[in-house]
Amino acid sequence: MSLLEVGLVAQLALALLAVTAAVAAPTPLRPLLAGGATLLMGLSGVATGALALGGRTGIVSAPLTVGLGLDARMTLAPDRLGGLFMLLAGAVGAVAALYSVGYARGPAGSRTGCAAFAVFLLGLQLVPASGDVVAFLLTWELMAIGSTILVLAEHGRRDQVRSAGLWYAAMTHLSFLFLLAGFAVLTVAGHSSSFAALAAGRISGDQAGLAFVLLTIGFATKAGLVPVHVWLPRAHPEAPSHVSAVMSAAMVKMGVYGVVLTVTRLLPGGPRWWGLVVLALALPSALYGILQASVTSDLKRLLAYSTTENVGLILSAVAISMLAASSGDSAVAGVAMVAALMLTVSHAAFKTVLFLGAGALLHATAERDLDRLGGLVRSMPRTAVAFGVACLGAAALPVTSGFAAEWVLMQARIHGDSRDQLTSALLPAAIAVVALTAGLALLTFVKAFGIAFMARPRSPGATTAHEVNRPMTAAVLIGAAAVLALGLAPGLTATAAATALRSAGVVGAVGAATTTSAAAAVGTGAGWGVALPGIGAHLDPLALTLLALAVTLPVVLVTWLLARRHPRRDVDLVWGGGGVRTSPRMPYTATSFAEPLVRVFDDALQPTRDLRVTHAQESRYLVQEVSFHQHLDDRVEKSLYRPAIAMLDRAGDLARLMQNGSMHRYLGFSFVALLVVLVAVAW
């Protein structure tokens, strides 16, 4: 038994332990015991993932009663790429488990909640370890059921939870069915259900195209791309925060993993339209996601939409890579794929912190509406610091992981091939979209941090907030440290990504050539930076930081000198905008913050506005009260899903009329069937 196999089995065993602890432990100890076991499972996932990423191999297989192959087994056999994602899932899971020790009270800390969390994480960590179709689908569905239970965990508290859970369950099942069909096509075309055999089989032609489309839709649904993203803005807000963190930071990434797995390993070297398909999904998602995020005031909904945006960015990098590969530009292909993986890791890091931070806010204030938060930097300094760092990451500002990742992505784009007509027409548009996305992301996260933590408390909950307990602050601070560390030393991520792609055989025209090119295209530059020798660019955030410190130092010195002579004076009112400064109604809210943007994108967002004017009784010319409501629906949901659901329901009602209870009608069904069979057979 190799070390890797031990690691895989250890994850299973620890998951079992966690479930046992969740079910059997007494209530006060449950979060500690179950969370502890889950934490260990996450760590074992990290270790196993690291081993796999390092190139260790191992196979764990289980016999099945009915399987797809001749020997009916399901196998876990992670490769390097899988190792990276397992590491990611394990790390996010471990941080979330740590957080859950402090957070999981109430429904999320119930027996079911704790057990489902362990199952969810187990599925999550094993999806990238799967070595064949059945194992993949099985772990995928474990992930689905675990997360569905968790999304529904707080069903007793809010009514929206049920509809969120339903949307989630249905969309998850949609994803599963597409994957099932896609893998079925693949299995049939490749005469095997094992990934290794499929990769060796070099499937091509129509079947490959069909499989690619089916799988891409399936994975896109999980990844939350427009227009199959609708579950995301519903499920993320309603799930307990540590669950939303894992869902957003790790589970959604399994969709990314699936796409990368498909285009690099199972179906490498696809035609150019594949890249265009992915691009066509990715760019609108990025833009739509961030646009919705920038105008919403529900913090967790904002974060959910931001996930759609980030996955859009990640997949646009994958698409660039595919396009470059199909036109033979292996250096750009490699860099773009590395950028995709770096973005993935970076998003995982900062989104974990953001969701956990949002959970902390929820915990402390019982509010997740930004309009009712505010001033929390004073009462929750540690959470504020961590959240702020993560916001910087989300806005891709230096020196965070997000910045380095987007830099690599931009480099890939700038050097994207302009030899063919279509790509050269698309690339500037792609760059513009990404740039607008980045700009809106900046606005969004300035809003998220500024409105939530600065100014004055806008609700009683925010006024009486207090810092959350230790496991929770520890979890967010660890996450924030990771965001910074990966930002200062992006070479780590870049090297890991390049290594992961080595086994995958990277996108591309012909396996071996591009494999080396991805490795050659990426290297650690001086220090911990990232260098792209393939396209001649390098970045060293550490040096940048030093330079920044060097130029800021004199400023600080001068400030210090001035401060010694003229200390700051506390006053009740500085300028105050008319003296009503102390009212919590005065600071700008998230809604008002986003108002200019809503106006700019009025056509795209189509908000529903409701203006009510109450006149004074004495005269219609005197206004007593004016109330203004603005509501922003998800337009895709409104114009695509709602009519479809309504149509289905109508069809269901019609069908029920058919089954009207009349004996004669039922006999008629049989009679017609008999006649049809008789005639058909005689024919």
Binding site: V377, R378, A395, A396, L397, P398, F403, E406, W407, M410, I414, H415, S418, P428, I431, A432, V434, A435, L436, A438, G439, L440, L442, V446, F449, G450, I451, M454, A455, A526, G529, A537, H538, L539, D540, L544, L547, A548, V551, T552, V555, T559, H566, R568, R569, D570, V571, V574, W575, G577, R581, M586, P587, Y588, S592, F593, A594, E595, P596, V600
Partner: protein, 316 residues
């Protein structure tokens, strides 16, 4: 003297030059405006005097404000970093920190974020309003910046600004190519928008409903206000210098020589002065746009940049 040390020295010189001249440039612009409007004006050194005054005053802090002191320093640091990164005097850059376009834009945005947070931190309605508008403009500006510089970088094949400037020096014809002109115009509009000049924002107004920049710093006082103002001037100066260098790259040091550096400094001062004066005289004839028509302006500049990219494909 090794190349690195020389480069660092030059960077220091560049920073010092802009630090010294940024307030003068503001003074110059105000003076030009005043004269054109038939006023005497306060003289070109007035901004320096203002700064000195603000440094001596004690800053005030209202309850609830947490970052009133830190954010201005951060803003100042970001602006200085921006200056240090841009290829204003020379095309050789620090090896470890290339003046990559994306890095430059990020640093610029870091400053933008710092000032927006300052506005939000104050907790007043005006602060939030200013921050909101400021961020909206910034978000809409970003595509134009990136696409414009992308257009400029296509012929060169790199996103390093110094490489772009250097290439334009080597091939002066590219400066007047349609790509370049379109991109420069787009970039210029963007700089105007980002730094809060007319017609996007009026730097000299305190009319509540229209202001952007001033709304955010209403609550700042003393040295805090001083830093914020200084940083803003610095940013505008740096960006104007960048545009000037892209439009007219002559004078920038390619081969290190003391005389060349001196020439470069003089050239830079001249370019910025001319550009600043031009803007100031232009502003006399402009009124501020309605806030919600600003996106139209930005969309226009974006289209220009986009056309520049397309043009670059045509010419290649």
């Amino acid at each position: 003297m090794s190349a690195t040390v020389t480069t660092m020295l030059l960077v220091a010189v560049q920073c010092g030059l802009l630090l010294a001249l940024a307030p003068v440039r503001v003074g110059l612009m105000r003076q030009v405006r005043a004269r054109l409007e038939g006023r005497a004006g306060a003289g070109v050194l007035q901004p320096w005097r203002d700064l000195a005054k603000l440094a001596r005053k004690e800053p005030l802090r209202a309850p609830g404000v947490r970052f009133g002191g830190a954010l201005p320093v951060l803003l100042m640091g970001a602006s200085l970093l921006l200056v240090a990164l841009l290829p204003l005097l020379q095309t050789a850059t620090l090896v470890a920190v290339p003046d990559d376009l994306f890095v430059v834009v990020s640093v610029l945005l870091l400053g933008t974020v710092a000032i927006a947070l300052l506005g939000l931190d104050s907790g007043t309605a005006f602060g939030g309003m200013g921050a909101s508008r400021h961020m909206t403009v910034a978000a809409l500006v970003e595509p134009t910046i990136l696409v414009a510089v992308y257009a400029l970088s296509i012929p060169v094949g790199t996103s390093n600004l110094s490489a772009i400037v250097s290439a334009r020096l080597d091939h002066p014809a590219t400066v007047v190519a349609p790509v370049s002109l379109l991109a420069l115009v787009a970039l210029f509009i963007v700089v105007i928008a980002e730094t809060g000049r007319l017609p996007v924002d009026n730097p000299s107004t305190h009319l509540e409903l229209t202001m952007i920049h001033e709304a955010m710093i209403l609550e700042s006082s003393g040295r805090d206000l001083g830093w914020v103002e200084y940083a803003s001037w610095l940013r505008l100066g740096a960006l104007l210098a960048l545009v000037a260098n892209l439009a007219a790259p002559w004078g920038v040091v390619q081969h290190l020589h003391v005389l060349a550096v001196l020439i470069a400094m003089v050239a830079l001062v001249l370019k910025v002065a001319v550009l600043g004066a031009a803007i100031a005289s232009g502003e006399v004839f402009l009124a501020k746009l309605r806030l919600f028509r600003v996106p139209e302006l930005l969309a226009g500049s974006f289209v220009l940049a986009f056309l520049a990219v397309t043009a670059s494909y045509l010419t290649v």
